[in-house]
Amino acid sequence: MFADSARVPATAPSLPRRLPVAIALLWLVALAASSLPWLGQMTPGELFAAFWSYTEDHYPSVLAHYSWAPRVSIAVLIGCGLGLAGAVTQQILGNPLASPTTLGVEAGGQFGVTIATLFVPGLLAFSPDLAAVAGGLLAIGLVIALTWRLGFSPVTVILAGLVITFFLGAMNMAFLLLKGEWLGNLFIWGAGSLVQNNWEPFLELLPRVLILAVAMLMLMRPLALLQLGQASASALGAKVALVRGGALILVVLMSSVVVSRVGVVAFVGLAAPVLARLLGARTLGERLLWSTVTGGGLLLLADTLAHWATTLGNGSIVPTGTTTALIGGPIILMALQGIRNTHHMPGADSSPAGFMPTRKPTLLIAGILMALLVLTIAVSMAWSPGLSSWNWTPVSNWSDAWVWRGPRLMAAILAGMALGMAGTLIQRMTGNPMGSPELLGISGGAALVMVVLVLTGLDIGRGGQLVGATAGAAAALGLLILLARRHRFAGNQLLLGGLALYVFMDAGLRLVMASGGTVASRLLNWMYGSTWLVSEPEAIGLLALVLGLGALLSLVIRPLTLLPLGDSAASSLGLPVARARLLLLLMTSVLTAAATVVIGPLSFVGLIAPHLARVLGQQTVGRQLVVAALAGGLLLAIADYLARVVVFPNQLPSGLLAALVGGLYFLWGLSRHGRH
């Protein structure tokens, strides 16, 4: 009666055998590595018995009972909890990038504890997790408030989460820079340390994790419906927004409870579900189960590595968060090779909620931005606080003030322009509103080189740093190109690759930060964009570079208009797709490297400026490029001026201020957009 396309008898796909085998192997290795240092002193049986008892007159046995066993237990517990939370998050949002880390929950928790440490230390003594839970809820509350009207559309939620992560991270940094003496401790905590000396934390954590896990499992069936997309899920009677919201809250509680106890254990919640899916967990039930098991094994392995590194590293503490990042990076890269179909995940809306304000004339908008920029330059050159009061520098004296105020201002503006253009290029190229130099890890590559330079203690001067950072950005981009070539530079794969690079950078940074001291605060200053380090020749070099690249960009406007139509459409119109993407990526990397050296990797001007251009009514590529460049320049010019005067005679890094100002703007824009 029916026409059947395939006559092949089909059997139900079964769970591939490699999944249990690989996970068992992971656990075996982790357990073996963890117990290895003890086996010289105790038999395996005795060591196993350490989980519930100890022999009083045998010191290693006591040590194992109160240090090793609780540490193993808590690592497994947290890993399982975060793995489950990550799998649930990915199902809620239908997005392989989703995890407690990318939703801003962990940054929120960290922020909460930072505030509590600096201002109400008594609260921490009273209850260590209250502050973290409040921070996590604040972060997710912001995300939910911003995306409520859009029915938690997956792309928007991740976007809001990432912006909030950056924003809260920047706030964190601002406080830490102003109160540097707290730095070391907070960073060790912030980087996730699982060191235990009794069973109390584990016994406190156990019931909470169990209750939250059961609650998550009870939501399993409605969550499975989300796979059919919003329309079908609600047609089947699931209250989509409610299910998503409820499950998100559970994820927040799970992450905050963990963060408050041991700090940020980043990327387990991302890596575990990715690995489980990669190894063949197919249905929701399988994914939840295997993500949980994988998370436990992963964190145990990571924690063991951290413990070993600490032992080898002469007592300087290596936090577990660092090693999770080191393990998480490669897994995300593996995912890049393995995950098909990330272009359109089930349940994901095919198009991101677009900013589609009415078009406005480019000349008008560009003119206004230009005028604002000139005004900012004039104010920045002329009006500044002195030792006693604010005063105007007359134009005739500007040539004297130039040395102090000129180069840094110029560098800031140019870096902003470069980031604005690079961001527009990336967003257009990937058709992804989350694409930006910051999020693709190109800035991260540059930063990683800087971290290594600081770690090795080499003093090669500003010029050497410039070269090194450029090389880092280019290497990051090269790696990205190699990885993404298989997918012909498709959008989500690029983002995943970038995320993996960012993970590596993050690991290095945490390592440096955990050591505290002057090295850390120097690095922090650079990370958050200290324009006062820029000299005049550097600024002029930057000018030449940005002008040259800007001119080149006029050549790629049309290919850039074609690419978002999809590879097949673009190539059928005669565009050599892969080569065009390569060229665009190269230009992007040079622009990004130039900007990163000046302003640090975290300003997220490259994310905001293109959005700003769209909100200002510039929908076509050329117009968006021009306006985004101007907006980026203006943003950093203002940030640079404020950085100079706000805490005069001290200075704040202007990248930090740009992140704060830009983050506020972006959140406002997102919520306004939702109201349409």
Binding site: A10, A12, R221, A235, P346
Partner: protein
């Protein structure tokens, strides 16, 4: 007996644009109705409103004589099933797993699937001729089979009404006819109320009891195929000069001049 759906002075606005205004219609139980109209005439919007995917800005829809807003989400899903125009990729779900999701409105988040549920699922798979594909991943099926898998899910849902948004627009002629014949047969066997958005007038006239045409958000024609398949009326619906031939009773051919 009240009509299954009663639409009373319905208006829908999206932003500043009025998509539907002043639509009043009644859909009888057991009737197969086609919604016709050119692109942008509001037929999909009407269907989505009936499926509660969009809430009306004015007017009321009555389900069995009661306001349909009062019904709970799952209770509504036990009465009305909706198939969106572009069902998403299903990420490795097998046909049977997809169809089993249709039992959600009846069992909820925690209720156990009984043997009766399994029978209904198997029955739905059998009725749509997918038995041999039950273990295959939906994503690996051809377009027509995938469409049937989704319809099987709606059948497992055991609703009294199916709302189908252009179920055949991506299929070739053979699969188009097969799908509509399936819908028609199921509607008869299970006495379902079916409202289906279609582009092909001839197929609509062949397989549906009633044709409703929309234009610029208003009902411009409503009647049996016999009444609607008239060159004058078709011309007023589509705004193109058209002619109609009746080749045999119940089989019309329309053409463009």
């Amino acid at each position: 007996m009240p009509a299954f759906f009663e639409v009373d002075q319905l208006a829908v606005r999206l932003g500043d644009t009025a998509i539907l205004h002043n639509v009043s219609l009644a859909f009888q139980e057991g009737e197969v109705t086609a919604l016709l109209g050119h692109n942008g005439s509001g037929k999909s919007t009407l269907l989505k409103t009936l499926a509660r995917q969009i809430s009306p800005s004015h007017g009321e829809v009555l389900l069995h004589g009661q306001s349909f807003r009062a019904t709970g989400a799952r209770a509504f899903a036990r009465t009305v099933g909706y198939l969106p125009q572009h069902p998403p990729a299903t990420d490795g779900l097998t046909v049977r797993e997809l169809v089993a999701l249709g039992r959600y409105p009846w069992r909820g988040p925690l209720g156990r699937y009984t043997a009766g549920d399994q029978t209904l699922i198997d029955q739905a798979i059998h009725d749509t001729g997918l038995a041999r594909f039950a273990g295959r991943a939906v994503d690996t099926l051809s377009g027509g089979e995938r469409q049937r898998a989704w319809i099987a899910m709606l059948l497992a849902q055991q609703t009294r009404c199916l709302l189908l948004d252009e179920p055949i627009s991506a299929l070739d002629v053979k699969h188009q006819v097969e799908t509509l014949r399936l819908v028609h047969r199921l509607a008869e066997e299970r006495e379902l109320t079916v409202i289906v958005v279609l582009h092909d007038v001839d197929l609509a006239a062949r397989f549906c009891d009633r044709l409703v045409a929309l234009k610029a958000g208003q009902v411009v024609a409503d009647g049996t195929p016999n009444e609607i398949m008239d060159s004058g009326i078709l011309e007023s619906i589509y705004g193109v000069a058209m002619g109609v031939m009746e080749r045999a009773p119940g089989q019309w051919v329309s053409y463009v001049h």
